[in-house]
Symmetry: C2
Subunit: 204 residues, 2 copies
Amino acid sequence: MARLKGSVGSRTKASIQEKALPLIAQYGYAAVSMRMIADAVGVNVGALYNHVPSKQQILVLLMSDHMDGLLAAWDAVDIEDMTPAQMLESFVRFHISYNITRADDVFISFMELRSLEPEGHNRIEKKRKAYEEVVRKIIREGQKSGQFNVEDAHVAAMSVLGSLIGVNTWYRARGRLSKAKIEDYYVAILLRSVGYDTEGKTDV
Amino acid sequence: MARLKGSVGSRTKASIQEKALPLIAQYGYAAVSMRMIADAVGVNVGALYNHVPSKQQILVLLMSDHMDGLLAAWDAVDIEDMTPAQMLESFVRFHISYNITRADDVFISFMELRSLEPEGHNRIEKKRKAYEEVVRKIIREGQKSGQFNVEDAHVAAMSVLGSLIGVNTWYRARGRLSKAKIEDYYVAILLRSVGYDTEGKTDV
DNA sequence: CCGGTAAAAGAACGAACGTTCATTTAATTG
DNA sequence: CAATTAAATGAACGTTCGTTCTTTTACCGG
């Protein structure tokens, strides 16, 4: 056989990324072979190389696309006239909403940094740092305005992010708690964690 | 060559675990070959199989030993006569202290669950659940006694654990913050996060 | 001190790996 | 409609993988 009826390059490339994502999330980058990806796409191994230069580039593409999407989506959230507490609430809701439907991307972006070769690693690490900075900045503003009471902005930011990233490890769409409830709970928990006085206001 | 002068089985087996740990933490289970481990131990590949039945068993051993150690160490902490807030403080300090010197174990136990075959997976998962239950129990007691003000004990427990697990991803022994300071900060942050009124008491 | 066992080396196994290549056929373009 | 390009197959490349096996040597109990 040769070229298949109706096959289009751009669709195959998209399919490669789409199929590789859950495989890598489940088994890890090193444990997923190009043959497994090809099988999932429904194509022979060799055909992958018509669309992607290497296995490593698939990973870079996945992570890079995810981080770009994440940062762009946050940029689209308007927090200009908000108080730091409102900003943090927005961020928490944003992060949970965005990531809960992209569990595989989040998992990969967090876990497979070590699988990246130096060049790709630097590119992705920069984006990750930018995302961390978002939280740090909000917390610092809250410190300045006195709305937050926190010992160390960096530690607090990492605590907030760690807590949020963990959601993906246990959230189940059909679980006991709805997405909305989880958001509410995390907003309350994390606002308290940065020393925002929620007295009576957020007792959900 | 054959058997080396001074070689003892028990020492080699210990060395296998010891050397495999950082390798797997850095590159991931699938990406580490038996030959890499053998090289690190200073031995030929084949010799590994005098001490370990398979690569998979090395992983099971590492994770199982770590979780057993973690649970046993926590059991040794006496929290009998404490208030829930004191218990949570003890737990936070314990977790950071114990895990910060075992970053590789923690990372592996968290990340490589997916690399375990069903049997090993069940064994380890049970231990992990037991550890989560420790936090849930403390929070539930705090809810009952009214010392904590938290919407959902499960969510709060996962938030606390996520936050703590994250420490390992950014802590550096020669970093800006000492272990003691980090403990203090996290105690304050996490007590606040469960709605414990720290008013004036923990302004570190 | 001798026989058995423990611990190593090193070669070898088949299978799977990422990647390349020649070839075939569908789609597109001039 | 002919020529070119795009997209696939399937075989093959050289490596590396986890594991097994034979052989050699050190250690140890009688």
